[in-house]
């Protein structure tokens, strides 16, 4: 089945080949058929129909008018509850709209629902959600696969054609890894390109909103729509947002691609090394200069990340105390007991683990040895990239060390689970833009992803390289 692209749909709407209502009815039908995938935490047909009614009364021209979009349930939305996939926010109805979702609403898009994720975006398989697993739409019958995570619901929503695009957030790989697992395109832009305002915070120095879509062109259209400066996020960047789509150029002749030797990791399946080599060969044929580069601190990125991210999370998640919003335990004989029981009952196991480790590395006597040390290594990792980008225009690597793994695969060992992010975390620590595009399959016919990294705010180069690889693969 060939899925309609956003670009084509915009044309079809423009030429009246299809109406906004017909388009959305089609998506609603599919969403109901694919209910078993557990893609959405919140879906209400009535809500979608209400949005349609309102949109039909609106005569103004809008860039994304009537386009069905799925929203990761980490973005606060006024019209739908927002849970962060946590029991602690089970009944939370935001009274405000996140920056990113407001931009999409202003352009006339229709929100089909709020997608499932790992609780507070902490995970790589969408299996820490309070609302159950999401199933990868590419699974064979009776062999359910994980969609990746944390934005697994959004990646699955695009892969199952339940929307024409979806929002995600990426802290250490949470857009790129599920995009790879589900065979869709996922872009995490430069840290600061999209405002974090109204996104439930996980690790604020790393969190960044981004896009899932069927192809690179669609991603370039949607990213432009959600990017931009916002006073309410102090790390939001004041940069001009180019028209990525209009500027797309698949001619890479004369460009230089960096291939980091440290990304050849022992134990990486042959198939993944193979698609990496294939991508390099394709680029070479297009006149791209291949440059072997070194990012010497790559192996320290994961341990650095797993100090910094939990530290920031432990601080960010202190706000869930049973006082201001969300769940409150019934066992509340004193204020302290209320806090401790609320948080014990409201958070899941992985979230508690990260709060505890984060609290430890920030606690008196350990701060310098762990947190400060990690921040220093982070500087070295960022410097590695700065040096490398003096010699190349973009970097190409695999996205993830495996294809989608079985849903029921036991992941009792936290470190083993953390290794899913081995190729995505370094760029997150450096704040760089990265995209994952489907590129090749493994022996079970599951998609594999190639990751393209660019310089800060050079999303255009990332898109250009991605569209070029995509067109050569199709």
């Amino acid at each position: 089945m060939s899925k309609s692209s956003l670009k084509q749909t915009l044309k079809d709407l423009d030429t009246k080949k299809i109406s906004i209502r017909e388009l959305n009815q089609d998506y609603l039908k599919r969403i109901k058929e694919k209910d078993n995938l557990n893609v959405f935490i919140h879906f209400s047909e009535e809500n979608v129909l209400k949005q349609l009614d309102n949109l039909e009364k609106d005569n103004s021209a809008k860039k994304l008018k009537g386009i069905p979009i799925a929203i990761k349930d980490l973005f606060c939305t006024k019209s739908m509850p927002t849970t962060a996939a946590s029991k602690i926010l089970e009944n939370f109805n935001p009274t405000y709209e996140s920056f990113v979702t407001q931009k999409l609403l202003d352009e006339g898009s229709i929100f089909v629902g709020k997608t499932n994720l790992d609780e507070f975006a902490m995970g790589s398989a969408t299996n820490t959600s309070f609302f159950g697993n999401t199933i990868n739409p590419l699974s064979k019958e009776n062999e359910p696969l994980a969609p990746g995570g944390s934005s697994g619901g959004s990646a699955a929503a695009v892969a199952a054609d339940l929307c024409l695009g979806a929002t995600g957030t990426d802290t250490g790989g949470s857009i790129r890894q599920p995009a790879s697992f589900c065979g869709v395109v996922g872009i995490k832009p430069t840290y600061g390109l999209c405002s974090r305002w109204g996104i439930a915070a996980f690790a604020s120095s790393l969190d960044q909103a981004g896009i899932f879509s069927h192809n690179v062109e669609d991603a370039s259209i949607l990213l432009q729509s959600i990017a931009g400066f916002d006073q309410r996020d102090s790390t939001s960047a004041k940069v001009d947002i180019p028209n990525y789509f209009e500027n797309l150029d698949d001619d890479l002749n004369g460009k230089t691609v960096g291939i980091p030797k440290e990304y050849s990791i022992d134990g990486t399946p042959m198939e993944i090394s193979k698609i990496w080599e294939d991508a390099i060969k394709v680029l070479e044929k297009k006149g791209v200069k291949i440059k072997n580069i070194s990012l010497p601190h790559t192996k320290y990125a994961l341990p650095t990340y797993y100090i910094i991210a939990p530290a920031e999370a432990s601080s960010n998640l202190a706000r869930y105390d049973g006082v201001k919003y969300g769940f409150r335990s019934d066992e509340i004989n004193s204020l302290d007991e209320m806090y401790e029981n609320t948080r014990a009952q409201g958070f899941g196991r992985e979230v508690k683990r990260r709060i505890l480790i984060g609290t430890y590395v920030l606690s008196a006597g350990y701060y310098d040895a762990y947190y400060l040390k990690a921040q220093k290594v982070r500087k070295l990792i960022a410097d590695d990239f700065n040096k490398a980008f003096k010699e190349c225009d973009f970097i190409v690597t695999p996205t993830a060390p495996s294809a989608a793994f079985p849903l029921n695969e036991k992941q009792n060992d936290p470190i083993k689970m953390y290794l899913n992010d081995v190729f995505t975390v370094p760029a997150s620590l450096a704040g760089l833009p990265g995209i994952s595009i489907p590129f090749g399959k493994d022996k079970n016919n599951l998609p594999l992803g190639i990751q393209i990294l660019g310089k800060h705010f050079d999303e255009q180069q990332v898109f250009n390289a991605a569209v070029s690889l995509e067109r050569s693969y199709e």
């Binding site: 120095s205 004041k238 969300g326 948080r343 609290t359 220093k376 620590l429």
Partner: protein, 95 residues
């Protein structure tokens, strides 16, 4: 072992998360294995390296220093588990 029963209790207390005995046991194991793993950072020489806390290269923009009253206390209280006369309500703090 870096984390023992006393340490986990202390961290849990600082985090305001009540743990039962079984959970404490599990987290002692998890946290020790994670801390052993991150120990490899000690191999890296970070002498004279500035810690990186904010990746954003742009200079923080300034805004005008004017007060704003959004008059939003009702909205702020809307999701409160318990409220009383325009305030959040919590269990009695002072005896």
């Amino acid at each position: 072992m870096k984390i023992d029963k006393n340490t986990i209790n202390k961290i849990a207390r600082l985090s305001r998360i009540k743990l039962d005995d079984k959970e404490s046991e599990d987290y002692i194991k998890d946290l020790n294995s994670i801390l052993d793993w991150v120990e490899q950072l000690n191999e890296v020489n970070t002498e004279n390296v500035e810690p990186l806390s904010n990746i954003s290269s742009s200079i923080l923009p300034k805004r005008e220093d004017v007060s704003k009253d959004n008059n939003s206390s009702e909205e702020i209280l809307e999701n409160a588990p318990d409220k009383l006369e325009g305030f959040f309500a919590v269990p009695k703090v002072v005896e």
